[in-house]
């Protein structure tokens, strides 16, 4: 994994077609301003550094609906997945920002278009979802003990890939949302009918700390820090949370998220 391997990431999911570049950048500039971070020196898709205002101007002038912005110790990735009916914004910090994720989530979770958000340890989430052996070889990481499956493609494209379908930290694209768990999550009004989760059961789960965020969203906290282990009690907690939030799902359908 290149860069930001030790950082944390907030991923925000919106209904498809509702989280455009302006809305995303307005939220980003608002929070960077509050944190005292300059809105300049950001590389847009690898181009020379520019201000966020210049980036917005360019994105709008070119009718671009996605971006990858890197600068000031932050990485922002906006995407729109029409086939899965969702938009997403990843906000990744190079460092471990600890308690500021609530501030980052605030401009987004109050919207009626908001679906869900969660915080993840970037490295953990990456390797929980890395399926191509090339990724492991490039990082000098052994995959000899990991379960393997066919990628399902015909010859000559067929190859063995890492089977991540039982990983507690797996992400799976679903229609309108992403099946995933985080130590801290925000769930919007539209999350419930999409996931099939029972809001009351979630609210009543004594092992979660639930708080109401405005009229539309809840925040749940399952652990003090981001998940970083798939084994032991942490792994069991992730499995338990997944069962609660996505009760009707199994791993056979859907699509693993590869941005």
């Amino acid at each position: 994994m290149v860069g930001f391997a030790q950082g944390e990431r907030l991923t925000v999911v919106f209904k498809h077609g509702t989280l455009g570049v302006r809305r995303a950048l307005d939220g980003i500039q608002l929070i960077l301003g509050r944190l005292g971070v300059p809105c300049t020196g950001f590389e847009l898709d690898g181009d020379p550094p520019a201000s966020l205002a210049q980036a917005l101007s360019r994105l709008e002038a070119t009718h671009t609906k996605r971006f990858r912005l890197v600068g000031q110790g932050w990485k922002f990735l906006l995407g729109s997945v029409g086939g899965w009916n969702l938009d997403f914004l990843e906000i990744t910090s190079e460092s471990k920002p600890e308690s500021i994720w609530d501030e980052w989530a605030a401009p987004f979770v109050s919207s009626s278009d908001f679906v869900m958000a969660w915080i993840a340890n970037s490295e953990y989430e990456y390797w929980q979802n890395a399926r191509d052996p090339v990724e492991y070889r490039a990082a000098g990481k052994s995959y000899a003990d990991l379960p393997m499956i066919s990628n399902g493609l015909r010859y000559p494209l067929e190859q063995e890939i890492v089977d991540t379908s039982r990983n507690p930290g797996r992400r799976i694209l679903r229609h309108g949302y992403i099946e995933v768990v985080g130590a801290v999550m925000w769930l919007g009004e539209s999350f419930w009918p999409l996931s099939g989760a029972n809001r009351r059961q979630v609210s009543d789960a004594g092992w979660l700390r639930i708080s109401i965020i405005g009229p539309l969203a809840i925040r749940l906290k399952a652990a003090e820090h981001c998940f970083t282990e798939a084994a032991s009690a942490s792994g069991a907690l992730q499995v338990q949370l997944r069962s609660l939030l996505f009760p009707a799902r199994n791993v056979a359908a859907g699509s693993f998220v590869r941005y």
Partner: protein
């Protein structure tokens, strides 16, 4: 030497360094509308699956263009995120090819450069 696409772009300079410059959507539309040999394509693209014979239709992009050659409209440059693209074919190797010459004219009009999508060289058409 050649990639799959040919790009008309302001995103690199003569030294192949990235500039951060782009072709604005409105700029491209204005150029197409001002040139009678160009128009925005509205019809879908249709291809035939050689194995099954099925016809596959894909919608044209919001600013794909067509070029008129001897009374026939043929697919031309497509607008995508500040660049213009067209699929490379061997016919573009011919200096007399009308599509190649029009690509060169468009690039000149937009003060842009032509490059294969691998971005390792400039095409001096």
């Amino acid at each position: 030497m050649m990639g799959i696409l040919v790009l008309v772009t302001r995103g690199i300079d003569q030294n192949l360094q990235r500039t951060g410059r782009y072709i604005a959507f409105d700029e491209w539309i204005k150029l197409v509308e001002s040139d009678p040999s160009l128009r925005i394509r509205t019809a879908p693209y249709v291809a035939v699956n050689p194995a099954t014979g099925d016809r596959i239709a894909t919608r044209a992009g919001e600013a794909d263009s067509e070029l008129e050659i001897r009374g026939e409209w043929v697919p031309f440059l497509r607008y995508h995120e500040g660049k213009l693209t067209i699929r490379f074919t061997d016919a573009l190797l011919d200096p007399a090819n009308p599509i190649r010459n029009k690509i060169a004219a468009v690039a000149k009009a937009l003060d842009a450069l032509i490059t294969p999508d691998v971005g390792e060289e400039l095409l001096t058409w």
